[in-house]
């Protein structure tokens, strides 16, 4: 204990202070922790507790929890992992579908959002707020509603069919119930999660940075390659993370647009809990999906230099 602290505790005692910083209970009622208490309580109740229950369930052999841990089993994990590792059976297919849909959604949203984000951040000045609002408004509508709307549009004898009939194209392959329709659905639903991080990272680039680059002889392509793209990387990475993780959990899109023909991990979990009433198997899959999501998140976030991003505002 430094002289200063010794003196302070001496004065505190003399002044009749009874708070002893060595008592952890006092630390818990200090304001910073008090402010955190509601969210911590909520997360403990809503996330940690149920997750523990799911982990325990995933080790059971039936739909009830056996109090004796010696009767617990890893059989469900073995089934899932074997299937996924060999790429065969339901789980091989589910993993393939999920990985394909997630990766392709990331790619598709990136290709569609980048130019738009660039235009909104750098070029469009008038009506910019209108454009941004139009991009946000779909988020106010439930995913189910939007996906069902699309299904009504695509379904046989639906809206698109009628339009095609009108212009004389009578026969065409079904547009619903295949992987690509699911991919279109996830791309549409998760687009804003890619667009806004990129838009925001492009906004942090100072106009004068562009002028400096031009001034030093750089043409538009060089500026994009050496300045704009590297500086928008954090947005791209975070956007990709959002879209990838959300797509891993894509369920509604798979069920409605895939119509039972395309199973993703999320829709298969849903199926296990609901239709087949195999809670332990569903739980094991849920734990697996969570692990995959966490690993993907950690890998993606590690590629970011957060300190560089934080220091950007100070570079001027």
């Amino acid at each position: 204990m430094s002289t200063k602290h010794r003196l302070k505790s001496h004065f505190d005692r003399a002044a009749g202070y009874t708070r002893d910083s060595s008592n952890p209970l006092f630390a818990l009622v200090r304001p910073p922790w008090l402010f955190m208490a509601p969210i911590v309580a909520l997360l403990l109740f809503m996330f940690v507790g149920p997750m523990l229950a799911i982990v325990v369930f995933s080790l059971q052999s039936g739909n009830t929890i056996d109090p004796n841990p010696l009767h617990w089993t890893l059989a469900h994990y073995a089934e899932i992992v074997t299937g996924m590792a060999t790429g065969t059976g339901v789980y091989g297919q589910v993993l393939g579908n999920t990985a394909l849909v997630s990766a392709a959604t990331v790619l598709a949203t990136l290709v569609v959002s980048y130019p738009a984000a660039y235009a909104l951040a750098r070029k469009i000045k008038r009506y910019k707020v209108v454009f941004l609002l139009l991009l946000i408004i779909p988020l106010f509508t439930s995913v189910n509603v939007r996906v069902f709307g699309w299904a009504l549009f695509l379904v046989e004898n639906g809206v698109l069919h009628s339009i095609f009939n009108l212009v004389g194209i009578g026969q065409y392959p079904s547009l619903l119930y295949n992987r690509y329709t699911v991919l279109f659905g996830t791309t549409y639903v998760y687009l804003p999660f890619m667009l806004f991080p990129i838009y925001l990272s492009l906004l942090t680039i100072d106009d004068v940075t562009f002028e400096a680059a031009r001034d030093l002889g750089a043409g538009p392509l060089t500026i994009f390659r050496k300045i704009v793209f590297p500086l928008s990387m954090p947005g791209v990475v975070i956007g990709s993370l959002f879209v990838f993780v959300l797509s891993l959990g894509a369920d509604v899109e798979a069920q409605i647009l895939g119509g039972g023909s395309v199973f993703t991990m999320a829709s298969n979990i849903n199926y296990s809990f609901g239709y087949s009433q195999n809670w332990p198997l569903g739980s094991a899959q849920a734990v697996g999906l969570l692990l995959i999501t966490i690993v993907a998140g950690v890998v993606i976030l590690r590629s970011l230099d957060l300190r560089e991003i934080a220091s950007r505002g100070e570079s001027r």
Partner: protein, 353 residues
């Protein structure tokens, strides 16, 4: 040589730069000075190509570069905020023009850093965002020099640095200008910076060049009260002038006693004001020079080796004398005294409207 011909820039209905014609010799250190809003930054940005002129042209060594894009112009601008690329190291910043522009000064990053007095070993591989203000300024300068511009444009790059560092960098810039034989055009509102560094000074006022010349010439014979005022530390007296018939004027005023004869420095235009610099004036208990004015001593400020004596006349005009500290100790002047503010008649600078 860089020339502008009736260069003009309008923003809506305001005219920021009004038909400016300037000429800057190759290798010259030219400064463009003027108060905020005089159009100096607008002018500089047009020279750099970042701003399109409303009308008029820019000619560099006989070639019209008015429509040349900034990336194709042999000019480089050192920005007020330096504009280093935040995601690059010092080395990458300096290599940027070398890699992209196909033109360079034929010096290595290390040599360039030494040129701007930064230790390459210590700084070359630091991230641009880790540097202090003065270091960023030097890197920005090295990066612009690496482009090997015919003309280096500087937009108050020292403004946000502390005073001692400003003084040091001013000297270094003047040295670099001589060493590289490159044209430097420096824009600033700080007259002091411009006086120290420049061969030629352009004083801008309301979008026009108010006066051009060597700094000392402008200081000695300002063309207008605006310039006299801008050049700093000047007492201004409104006067009536009578031509003497032999190219001079006899000048009298309601604002001081006595009369002054001045040469015609302004092509026959009558002087309407007399300017007397602070350090040409003194305050004594009695009038000992041919011209002076009775004043109350309002304030006395000791400024190191000089003393500022602030006075007010009965006309409620305020005047300031700056006298050597040693001299001040020989006169008997105190705050609240009635005294005479005075100067040698030949120190009067006549200024037309």
């Amino acid at each position: 040589m860089l020339q502008t011909a009736a260069l003009r820039r309008e923003y809506g209905s305001t005219v920021a730069v009004k038909d400016i014609d300037i000429e800057i010799e190759t290798g010259e250190f030219a400064s463009i000075v003027g108060p905020s809003g005089c159009g100096k930054t607008t002018l500089l940005r047009m020279l750099a190509g970042h701003l399109e002129p409303t009308s008029g042209g820019i000619v560099l060594d006989g070639e019209d570069i008015t429509a040349t894009r900034p990336q194709d112009r042999p000019t480089s601008l050192v920005f007020q905020t330096w504009a280093l690329f935040p995601h690059m190291t010092v080395r990458e910043n300096i290599e940027f023009p070398i890699e992209t522009a196909g033109r360079n000064l034929d010096r290595s990053v290390e040599e360039l850093l030494e040129l701007v007095r930064l230790d390459p070993e210590e700084h070359a591989d630091k991230s641009a965002s880790e540097l202090s203000g003065g270091q960023k300024q030097r890197v920005a300068l090295a990066r612009s020099l690496a482009y090997d511009p015919d003309i280096l444009l500087l937009d108050e790059p020292l403004a946000s640095l502390d005073y001692a560092l400003q003084k040091q960098l001013q000297r270094e810039l003047a040295d670099l200008n001589r060493e590289l034989d490159m044209t430097f055009i420096y824009v600033t509102h700080s007259l002091e910076a411009a006086l120290v560094m420049s061969d030629t000074l352009f004083v801008l006022d309301e979008g026009q060049v108010a006066q051009t010349g060597a700094p000392e010439d402008i200081y000695q014979s300002p063309k207008s009260t605006f310039i006299a005022d801008f050049m700093g530390d000047a007492n201004v007296f409104a006067v009536d002038a009578e031509p003497t018939g032999d190219g001079a004027f006899t000048v009298t005023s309601d604002e001081f006693e006595g009369e002054v004869t001045v040469e015609d420095d302004h092509d026959g235009r009558e002087p309407t004001d007399l300017v007397v610099r602070y350090d040409d004036c003194v305050v004594r208990p009695t009038l000992e020079t041919p011209v002076g004015v009775a004043v109350d001593v309002d304030n006395i400020l000791v400024r190191g080796n000089t003393v500022l004596i602030e006075c007010s006349a009965d006309t409620e005009d305020d005047y300031v004398a700056e006298v050597p500290f040693d001299w001040f100790q020989t006169v008997d002047i105190e705050i609240g005294d009635r005294a005479y503010f005075q100067w040698e008649a030949e120190k009067s600078i006549p200024v037309p409207e």
